[in-house]
């Protein structure tokens, strides 16, 4: 049962363009995340938000900016894409009690290809 929804599934763009990915969770969770999965299938955390507040920002280039309108949504904008941004971007959410993150639930990912 899918409860973390990501759009689009795929996006192809050219260097220098701006892209925006959407993520919505219907689990009532307080915490949301963005991960990047590179060509070697390694998952690297980019950001985590708790109740619309940025909690984790992992040395991500400044062209990446997360945007949270409410705790059910966490979008990711890339201002000027570069070739190394080609990857699968995975959104996740968790109930995040304040002591621990709790179980992460992932969306199906957005595959970005930068030409």
């Amino acid at each position: 049962e899918t409860a973390v929804f990501q759009t689009p599934n795929y996006h192809v763009t050219q260097v220098g363009n701006e892209v925006s990915f959407n993520c919505k969770q219907t689990l009532g969770h307080d915490t949301m995340y963005w991960y990047k999965q590179d060509s070697k299938k390694l998952l690297k955390i980019m950001f985590s938000y708790n109740n619309k507040q940025l909690i984790v920002n992992e040395t991500v280039p400044r062209r990446f900016s997360p945007q949270s309108s409410d705790k059910a949504h966490l979008n990711l904008r890339i201002k000027s894409v570069e070739p190394e941004d080609s990857a699968v971007y995975l959104c996740a959410s968790s109930s995040g009690t304040g002591v621990s993150a709790e179980t992460l639930y992932f969306g199906s990912g957005t595959r970005l290809t930068v030409l």
């Binding site: 299938k41 998952l43 985590s48 909690i55 968790s94 709790e102 179980t103 992932f106 199906s108």
Partner: protein, 108 residues
């Protein structure tokens, strides 16, 4: 540096046999999760452990925060168990760090 070291990177099993995947941590972790990537590429939760062991069918996981490791045991492997398995550990403060994955192939 890398905080989660997952091994093996690849594993081949015959149907009916079993083995274990392991993640070692370079620091004390609050909790660990295990995931399996399904045929559609989605990450599916298998276990969440803050301590001790959990079992679900043919899968069993253990987490020892003091000794800094977690294991995932698979017994009586079936063809449909093939896929990529990931561990992920909480360092604290909503930061969850992933291992590099184990590609499991179960053959007849």
């Amino acid at each position: 540096g890398d905080q989660v070291e997952q091994s093996p990177s690849a594993l081949s099993l015959h149907e009916g046999t079993g083995s274990a995947l392991r993640c070692n941590f370079t620091t004390t972790m609050r909790a660990v999760q295990w995931f399996r990537k399904n045929s559609r590429g989605s990450l599916i939760n298998l276990f969440y452990l803050a301590s001790g062991t959990k079992e679900n069918g043919r899968l069993k996981s253990a987490f020892d925060s003091k000794e800094r490791y977690s294991t995932l045991h698979i017994r009586d492997a079936q063809l449909e168990d093939s896929g990529t398995y990931f561990c992920a550990a909480e360092t604290g403060g909503y930061k969850v760090v992933f291992g590099s994955g184990t590609r499991l192939l179960v053959s007849p």
